[in-house]
């Protein structure tokens, strides 16, 4: 199904011998990230815990894209960052190319960093405004001693070419570029380190539709050319659907549903997933007239004090007593399709949000 990876440069020395192509590139187990924050209230100093990520399992194969969707604050970015150990997980393990990242020393980790990179939502903010594009792209080459000095310039131009920017961009500053172009620079910088894995943290959310399409096309092309693996974070199901092989749906720090892309888009099982689908605006007046009346009500509860049992129960039209008390496990409902809902069967039979999903196309 997927073409063989064709990494243009020689594999890095960091690649461990134990890792084989069949093994998942990235495995995350029981990932928990809690933040200690100072509590609210002016009276007593109270420490409170933000349950940003609360037990997430993921795995991602070589040259694959895993999509991660969910609402704001559900922990997508935190997951993305802690996978790269930019955030120390409170618990859980992250294995990359067979190596347990949480056990690595700072030094080893920093050597491994170039194999896994990140692209941010805010294209401009993720680029140091004081550095020229050339400096930005040269930095990874420099810190990882990837390319000898005299070749650096050439390599930078190669990278610009790769992401479709003119070579005269080298001496200009990020703010002289549009959002879409900045995102290309961000991508080029990530690629400069010759990674095999990219976390894409809402890389197109801030962009206009036309530019969004350009960037998504670029990412797709790059994946095919370089054999990259993506963890693609977004809140737009349509975009995720075009990009991902597998999709995970997150709600309040937990994965509520994870499946092969087609399986999920054809038959979402979790009421929350169904609600998300129904909320996607469809650019077709005929269709959008039909649905849209049934929307997910309420708001995402605070991650300081997540609801007991099923975390979605406060907003779920199917919620019963059991949902309030008993936390549903992530169970397999179809091959490669797992759902955390006590009443998944019922939800599939009788989608409370009557979504337009894919039926019409």
């Amino acid at each position: 199904m997927t073409p063989t990876p064709t990494t243009p440069t020689t594999p890095s020395t960091a690649a461990p011998p134990v890792h084989t192509a069949q093994d998942p590139l990235l495995e995350v187990e029981g990932l928990v990230v809690h933040y200690q924050v100072r509590g609210a209230g002016t009276v007593i100093r109270r420490r409170e815990t933000v349950h940003a990520v609360d037990g997430v399992d993921l795995s991602l194969g070589t040259h694959q894209t895993l999509g991660l969707v969910g609402e704001s604050g559900c922990g997508k970015s935190t997951t993305g960052r802690s996978v790269l150990l930019l955030e120390r997980p409170t618990e859980g393990s992250v294995r990359f190319e067979g190596r347990e990242l949480t056990a690595l020393s700072r030094r080893e980790l920093s050597g491994l960093r170039r194999r896994m990179q990140i692209v941010f939502q805010d294209p401009v903010g993720s680029l140091n405004p004081r550095h020229t594009v050339g400096q930005l792209l040269r930095e990874p080459l420099l810190v990882h001693h990837l390319v000898p000095k005299q070749r650096q310039r050439e390599r930078v131009e190669e990278l610009l070419d790769l992401v479709g920017l003119p070579t005269d961009a080298v001496s200009r500053f990020p703010h002289e570029f549009s959002g879409g172009q900045c995102q290309r620079i961000g991508i080029a910088r990530a690629l400069a380190a010759e990674p095999s894995f990219l976390v894409l943290d809402e890389p197109v959310s801030a962009l206009d539709v036309s530019i969004q399409a350009q960037i998504l096309q670029l990412l797709t092309d790059l994946q095919d050319r370089l054999g990259l693996s993506y963890l693609f974070i977004a809140h737009d199901l349509a975009v995720v659907g075009q990009m991902s092989d597998r999709v995970a749906v997150m709600y309040l720090g937990k994965i509520v549903e994870i499946a092969e892309r087609d399986s999920l888009y054809a038959r979402p099982h979790h009421p929350y997933t169904q609600g998300l689908f129904s909320a996607v605006p469809v650019p077709d007046p005929a269709l959008s007239r039909k649905h849209g009346d049934a929307v997910v009500g309420g708001e995402v509860p605070s991650s300081l004090d997540p609801p007991s049992g099923c975390r979605f129960h406060t907003r779920c039209p199917l919620a019963r007593e059991r949902c309030r008390t008993e936390e549903p496990p992530l169970e397999q409902v179809a091959p490669g399709h797992r759902v955390a809902c006590h009443f998944a069967d019922e939800a599939v039979r009788n989608n409370p949000f009557e979504s337009a999903t894919t039926a019409e196309v």
Partner: protein
């Protein structure tokens, strides 16, 4: 709130402890003691008598402990400069004067600075803005207050004879020193006010207020100024102790028998108990202003929680 205050208070105590210890050590390391100002050295036995009389013959750590112990009993000791008074009494006599001048200065400079800053910001990029920001605040910042004081006296007292040349006792005595003292904080205040007002002027919620048909006056007062002035509390706070403990320059120029001059005389005379008391005053005042401005900030700005504040 209580816990917050208690915690702040405890750290303040700790800080003051360390600070007084440092100052104490420093004071004694400095050449010359409190009784070395005589033109002829005191003969040995006479000097020994003096030292014994004031407990200065004991080792330093002992002296510090003695001082601390007395302090715990509310006794700040006896100033060498005024052996017939207590330090407390001396401060109680001098400080009210400084407080009066300082209080008025704070009032004048903060109100004046706020008005000027607001005016400049609201007339952003006009001649008024230019005049207020460049000219006035530069004069305020670029002229030391004793020079201003000297100029004021030359003009208003000697030449025109309108105002007293200095001294203490009648209300007119306050005018010139307060003006001279106010200029610098006023200039600073104007600068900060302008910046913070400008920041708010283009905020979304001001635009939205306008879109709801609110008058410019209302927008200025309730939308712009009200939010713009809040952060100034944190700027105003730390300035207050400096002003309330007086300026030796202002006091000397205007012959005010305030506390400020003690900051120099006490250290010139090596008046150890007085120096320590002054240091304590500043520390307590500073700590209080700091805490108060934090608390005030949380009271006026609903967005801020006390615990979240960190500077």
């Amino acid at each position: 709130m209580v816990a917050y205050l208690a915690r702040r208070f405890l750290t303040l105590l700790l800080v003051m402890f360390v600070m007084t210890m440092l100052i104490f050590g420093l004071m004694h390391a400095v050449p010359g003691g409190p009784f070395d100002q005589t033109q002829q050295p005191l003969p040995g036995p006479a000097m020994a008598n003096v030292m014994r009389k004031y407990g200065l013959d004991q080792p330093i750590w002992r002296q510090y402990l003695n001082w601390l112990w007395a302090l715990l009993h509310g006794d700040l000791g006896i100033p060498f400069e005024q052996p017939t008074m207590t330090v407390t009494g001396l401060i109680a006599r001098a400080w009210p004067i400084t407080l009066a001048i300082g209080g008025l200065t704070i009032l004048v400079s903060y109100v004046g600075g706020l008005v000027m800053g607001c005016a400049a910001a609201l007339r952003h990029n006009t001649w008024l803005d230019w005049l207020l920001t460049s000219a006035v605040s530069t004069v305020g910042v670029a002229l030391p207050n004793y020079v201003v004081g000297f100029l004021l006296i030359s003009l208003f007292s000697v030449k025109l004879g309108w105002l007293p040349v200095g001294g203490w006792g009648q209300p007119q005595d306050l005018i010139l020193p307060v003006v001279a003292f106010s200029l610098y904080p006023m200039a600073l205040m104007a600068r900060y006010t302008r910046a913070s007002t400008l920041e708010v002027t283009y905020a979304d919620y001001v635009r939205m207020g306008r879109a709801r048909g609110l008058s410019e006056r209302r927008l200025t007062v309730r939308y712009i100024l009200r939010t713009a002035l809040i952060p100034l509390i944190t700027i105003m706070g730390p300035n207050i102790p400096n002003i309330l403990t007086g300026s030796i320059f202002i006091e000397a120029t205007f012959a005010l028998p305030g506390l400020g001059s003690y900051f120099t005389t006490a250290s010139l005379h090596r008046d150890y108990p007085l120096i320590l008391a002054l240091v304590l005053i500043v520390a307590v005042l500073w700590g209080t202003c700091y805490i108060l401005s934090d608390v005030a900030y949380t009271l006026v700005d609903p967005r801020v929680r006390l615990e979240g504040l960190s500077r």
